[in-house]
């Protein structure tokens, strides 16, 4: 077990290094000159060429990518993430201030969408092909086709402009010091973004749970329970829900990437001061250090989710652990894992039926 956990942690660390390099390389490939960007136009023009060259050396403009990456990584490990140009503060401080807001938003959305989606999925499967099922399915497909930012705008229009129940944006009332604001204020401002994000997240998990529940309801052990006189709902309650909970939980952990993407959009619409909004501001303003920092943080969040899902699977399902040591192939985090790891054995037929719904849903939409 310890080996299994260590293996996954090691894999995550290697991937994280690669991701950080990718982010760093992308940010540095931009045509925007970091010296100019970090000084501002006026200061740059008034500076003599010697000073410019000195600064260029400091920012590592002429150094090869590998070298500047190594410098940056060294700084990151020591807690020096650079200075944010836009917010005029250390990157780490800016991120720390905003992480709390974003995490709160994401956590609420994660829990609410998970629970709601799970319940809706089971309800749909229990009333398969009935009007409840059709309504839930239609709702999910419609939601999957809806742009997150548009839904956020519509909510803003309905519940802040036309019907002023919720504030129009920000995380606290305007003109109120953050130390004076009450928890109620914070929740009041959090509500609408969180509702938007939760509703968007429901579609994926509900459709997936519905498929799984239908599978379980057709299994032999449920048939046996039914023969003993239990209703489908009772049969589910009597022991199947664990079988449903595990894949749902895995999927929900894997969806952190999507929730983060959604939070970027929602935060932008609601002017909610979180990481996503900071990322957009940084990228629009050429704030290289902050952009790279936030990209790495978002990757850490996603990897944390995948790691949790993998470990959870290993803890609960011993078959995964065994499969791991036998084939040396990892059960990759996320939905596609059982489809992908079938080297040498024909994937089960049922899987084939599902593959495109998975592919369709797992990709994450704006």
């Amino acid at each position: 077990m310890a080996r299994y956990v260590l293996f996954h942690i090691a894999k995550c660390v290697v991937l994280l290094l690669a991701v950080s390099f990718l982010c760093f390389a992308l940010v540095n490939a931009s045509p925007i000159d970091p010296v100019q960007a970090n000084l501002g136009q006026a200061a740059y023009i008034n500076m003599d060429p010697e000073k410019r060259a000195e600064l260029a050396a400091y920012w590592g403009v002429d150094a090869p990518l590998w070298e500047s990456y190594a410098n940056w990584l060294g700084g990151v490990v020591q807690g020096d993430w650079g200075i944010s140009l836009r917010y005029n503060a250390p990157v780490l401080q800016v991120i720390a201030e905003r992480t709390a807001n974003t995490l709160m938003l994401m956590a609420v959305a994660w829990v609410v969408s998970g629970l709601l989606g799970f319940a809706l999925g089971i309800a749909a499967a229990l009333h398969r092909d009935g009007w409840i099922d059709r309504t839930i399915k239609g709702y999910c497909y419609l939601l999957a086709a809806t742009p997150t930012f548009w839904l956020a705008m519509i909510f803003l229009l309905c519940f802040s402009v036309l019907l002023p129940i919720f504030p129009i944006g920000f995380s606290l009332p305007i003109g109120v010091n953050s130390s004076e604001a009450t928890l109620l204020d914070a929740l009041h401002h959090l509500a609408l973004p969180a509702i938007t994000l939760s509703l968007v997240g429901v579609a994926n998990i509900a459709l997936h749970t519905r498929e799984k529940t239908i599978d379980v309801l057709e299994s032999d052990y449920v048939r046996f329970s039914r023969m003993r006189g239990l209703s489908p709902a009772e049969a589910l309650r009597n022991g199947c829900w664990r079988n449903l909970l595990l894949p749902a939980l895995t999927l929900q952990f894997a969806s952190i990437s999507e929730i983060f993407g959604g939070s970027v959009l929602v935060e932008e619409v609601f002017s909610y001061p979180g990481l996503g909004q900071a990322a957009v501001t940084a990228a629009l303003g050429g704030d290289v250090a902050l952009l790279a920092g936030i990209a790495v943080i978002s990757a850490v969040l996603v990897f944390g989710g995948n790691l949790a899902a993998n470990i959870l699977y290993g803890v609960i399902d011993p078959r995964i652990r065994r499969g791991q040591s036998e084939s040396g192939k990892s059960a990759r985090g996320g939905v596609g894992s059982d489809v992908g790891s079938a080297r040498g054995s024909r994937p089960p037929r049922r899987m084939n039926g599902q593959r495109f719904t998975e592919q369709n849903e797992a990709g994450g939409r704006g």
Binding site: Y141, T146, V161, L265, A299, R332, R355
Partner: protein, 305 residues
């Protein structure tokens, strides 16, 4: 299935009799239902694709008219003459939406095609290549899945200096991962089949096997995956343009239209946001419909369920 059983009949009369019997038992109902079902599905696919083609053509034609400003019709609410209303410059929102949709679909088409091609190549290489190659591709997929899509899109778009190429390259480079997994699993399944083993024993080269047997086997599923990539591509294009990293603001892209309408939300000009958004949803649903119907045609198993 019944037709296949009959065409194969001369090979083994005994087996034929047995198959005929079982199929005859089911034939009248299931066969007629299947064919009518297939017809409906085919009509759905063709109809959806035709509507989408119509949007592209109409939108392209409407683009010059969509940029026309006329202050006489400034801030008009929706009416029969202007079904989606007019904006603060007196531009007809219906024409703008149409132009924006056609722009989005064309970008989505380009990006999804490139993305699908990448996934076909990588998926086949992973499944047919050595263990190391497979591991490398799998690792690459994990890498791509590691950063949230939207953040990666922002990064790529920023690295390319924003604009048209920023979005298109970004979407093309971020959407191949999930389809690659599907292609890889399909090829792995196909690789087990006896006819591949026979081809190998007959001395066919690996490249020939891939070209003659594997790609045709994977192709139908690949096509479905390709069509189902469009909705993602379009929604992401709209999102990234909305955030300000995508198409330049002077183009009537849907992301730009919606981002501009944000400013006017608080003044109660709801039609600026509502109608373009609804038409975007309708377009995405059309693609979903076409993809779903095509999948049912290609994959008879799910159709039976």
């Amino acid at each position: 299935m019944a037709e296949i059983a009959r065409t194969q009949a001369p090979v083994a009369p005994a087996a034929q009799a047995q198959v005929e019997q079982t199929t005859l038992f089911h034939e009248p109902r299931s066969l007629s239902r299947l064919t009518s079902n297939r017809k409906v599905l085919l009509v759905t696919v063709i109809g959806a694709l035709a509507v989408l083609a119509l949007i592209i053509v109409a939108g392209t034609l409407a683009t010059p008219a969509a940029q026309e400003t006329d202050f006489a019709r400034r801030d008009l609410a929706p009416s029969l003459a202007h079904p989606f209303g007019c904006d603060w410059l007196g531009r007809d929102m219906f024409l703008r939406t149409l132009a924006g949709l056609s722009l989005s679909i064309r970008i989505g088409l380009l990006a999804a095609a490139v993305s699908a091609l990448i996934s076909l190549v990588l998926g086949t290489i992973a499944a047919m290549g050595s263990r190391v190659v497979d591991g490398a591709v799998t690792w690459l997929i994990d890498l791509m899945m590691g950063v949230p899509h939207l953040v990666l899109l922002i990064l790529i778009s920023y690295a390319l200096g924003k604009g048209f190429w920023g979005v298109t390259v970004g979407i093309a480079l971020t959407h191949w991962a999930s389809l690659t997994r599907v292609v890889r699993a399909e090829v792995l399944q196909c690789r087990q089949s006896p006819y591949i083993a026979v081809a190998q024993k007959l001395g066919a080269s690996r490249l020939r096997i891939v070209a003659k047997h594997i790609v045709p086997f994977v192709f139908p599923q690949f096509l479905v995956g390709f069509i189902l990539l469009f909705p993602h591509a379009i929604l992401h294009e709209a999102a990234i343009t909305f955030l300000g990293f995508g198409l330049p603001p002077e183009l009537p892209a849907l992301g730009n239209i919606l981002s501009e309408s944000m400013t006017y939300l608080s003044t109660g000009m709801w039609w600026l946001a509502v109608f373009p958004g609804l038409s975007l949803i309708a377009t995405v649903l059309l693609f979903d419909l076409a993809g779903g119907a095509l999948r049912k045609i290609v994959d008879a198993r799910t159709n039976q369920e």
